[in-house]
Symmetry: D2
Subunit: 250 residues, 4 copies
């Protein structure tokens, strides 16, 4: 039994440092690196790619909306053509740094509001999948299972890798609980680790609104910008390994 | 005898249209496409790549300083590491659109103030060459001959393609005459065509400050943002072809 | 009887020219100048303010979403606090150029997707009104009548100036017809002029979906980025003046 | 005897936090707030203005080059017209937040590479002074004494406030020692405090290259982005107050 541990990273921008890359990279098996639109200036992208190389971590692109001031967390009414072009641009930019370091592009995972919009807006999902497909049809997309985003990635013929969130509460319908709900965020590392284990071993976890919910987890996301991200990553990883789960990039 | 005719293009940005791509592309054999920093939004880059494909024009990357409001025409004190990362980022971004359309990256030519700085600042030139080399050592760099930029491109083991400017006056020392000098700009298409012919056939042209100057021209640059760019391109191309020079991408 | 003729303007950005300011300014009585977020670089703002001064045209601020590449035409999910801060920032920036030229800030009119969102999203409207009120409660807001935007502007104690669009078709419910509808756009200058006249003299105009619709017009908007904006402005102005309507800033 | 203690602040940008505003504001008497170009998004500007208001700290504008990714620390070849427009724009933007909070614009102090360029490039200095003068001739400029920047500010009729840097080494010629020189940076709070005291009481300090240098200090700059900025500010303030110097805004 194996699972990947991924973290959003490389989100620093010029003189602005964001997240905890140096602490988190040794603990995860893949990273999703910002590509300049919501974070990730060229110099910081190069730095993050090299850090990933040094730690043997697989690198994916983490394209976002063109909204640096909003950190890509504000939904934008982009046309599918605009989503396609923005995602393709960002994938290419990151790919250049990988190529310069002799690394492959391991996967793509959209960021923030773009990810969330893709989960419920079919044209956006299709445009993202199309950007990846026309760039390289062998590159997998990390998806939230049970969404139109997963469907469109599969329709495009891409390999999909299902993601689960041990730090986020789920609703009974399989959706992530909105962040404003009480209890939507699990900040205790041990509790996150316990949930991660259930997700991987049992394929399910407790729902915030009662009962249980099926969760398909080929990769577990650690939020690298949380103050306690290193603690969470460490606890999740240890729990998985103690249970005999191999933690490695998909 | 052959020569390439290149134009800076793809510099429109979102709703802002710049230059005369639709008129110029049918007349040139290669284009240098903006990559988002001084012009060239993702959607406009895609459009320009497709236009080039439709006209069978070779496409190079045209990376500039990160200065959209200044159109990359204002020198910036970037460190070599910053130049390297900015150029690599932009090459990669354009390359993604080429890849999606099944086109190769034909060459790289820096834009505006970055080009001019590379011609006289060795570390900047080296950083540009290094970005191209680590991305793909087979991709040629378009250079101004007789500069440290040409030297560094060669030291990096890259193929260099020498560029001449039929619309720009030269000084006796081989440098381009500064734009504020009277006569530094040749706006008459026929005069530009006559100069282009001398450059290609004789390897020399009249200098603004008297005498003649040797000019090595493997590609001739047409300024695509001039109001009369199409007329100049047409006149230059006709003059070359009538003289038996084959106009084709290097 | 008087009416104002306003145009969105000052939307050029650095080397990128947008719209037809030099042709339009002599024909209108007020302009809404971009403030840097969707267009309007500092240099171009200064230029536009001086042009307005030269023509005796009243100047308002035209704040938009922070989306240069999308020209402020793509809705963004900004919080009310973000709308407030973005609008206040832009008003202040334009105000500085006015102050330097000895001109008052005549009014505020939001741009593009921000205007449209304000018309149907109360919190956005309230945040815009609040930004104007805290900057200067004497500055009027240009509004689309019959919207929550008008309501919130009035609740904030601001003077509202109702705007009508002679170039845009209306629906029977008083809303502007969406741009994708056939007939939603009136490009014939004489037809626009005829509609402008009905709006001002009769307070009504034909609806696209049949019947008539009441239109309250204290200012008429001319779209300055239309290729035929000068013709439309000229035709509308002439029709109004020939009918004895005084065209002047509110 | 009085002196002001100033710190560059408000440089956070959206989700990116920069500096130590909450720790530093209670310790200084004036702050120079970023205005959006090198840092300081609208939301963060509002936050910083309110923080200053809560602590009774005087607020100045801190305009920089339009270079967010370089944090305004990279010299740019802007024309005087561009400097003028960029500075005026930024002053106006900050002023709007002050006006909304009922605070005056206390002063202007350029940031980073713009400040340094103004010190040795007369046209740049003149453009900055002109922007302040046309905005409000009563607003003082914080200057480095003995520079063309000080001269041009005075020629424009502005009040100048001389600044000294207790954390930075000086050369015998009165200039700041370049940051790459060993010993150019004083990181020990007590040593910075000792130097601050000499500057204020004696008007001189030891030079890095031997001997002493006259230093005129109406305001002392604390670098708010240093990890130990709060310690330095505290030590400097205590030393001054214990010596009977009144620390208050100019």
């Amino acid at each position: 039994m194996t699972v990947d541990l991924n973290a959003d990273a490389g989100e620093s921008y010029g003189a602005f440092t964001y997240g905890h890359d140096r602490e988190v990279f040794p603990l995860v098996t893949s990273v999703n690196l910002a590509c300049g639109f919501h974070g990730g200036s060229p110099g910081r992208m190069r730095e993050a790619v090299r850090l990933a190389k040094a730690h043997g971590v697989a690198v994916g692109a983490h394209p976002g909306f063109p909204d640096l001031v909003g950190f890509g967390r504000r939904e934008m009414a982009l046309s599918p053509e605009e989503v396609y072009a923005d995602v393709l641009y960002q994938i290419g930019a990151l790919h250049a740094f990988l190529r310069a370091e002799g690394l492959p592009l391991h996967h793509v995972k959209p960021h923030g509001a773009l990810y969330l919009k893709a989960c419920r807006h079919r044209e956006t999902a299709r445009a993202i999948a199309e950007a990846v497909r026309t760039f390289d049809p062998e590159v997998p997309l990390v998806v939230l299972p049970g969404t139109v985003y997963e469907e469109e990635a599969q329709k495009a013929g891409l390999r999909v890798v299902r993601e689960a969130f041990p730090e986020r509460a789920y609703l009974g319908n399989g959706q992530l609980a909105p962040r404003h709900l009480e209890g939507s965020w699990i900040s205790d590392p041990e509790e996150a680790a316990r949930r991660a284990l259930r997700m991987v071993l049992e394929g399910r976890v407790e729902a915030l609104d009662g009962g249980e919910v099926a969760v398909r987890a080929e990769t577990l996301c650690i939020h690298g910008d949380n103050p306690n991200a290193p603690q969470v990553a460490r606890a999740v990883r240890r729990a998985l390994e103690e249970a005999g789960v191999e933690v490695r990039a998909f």
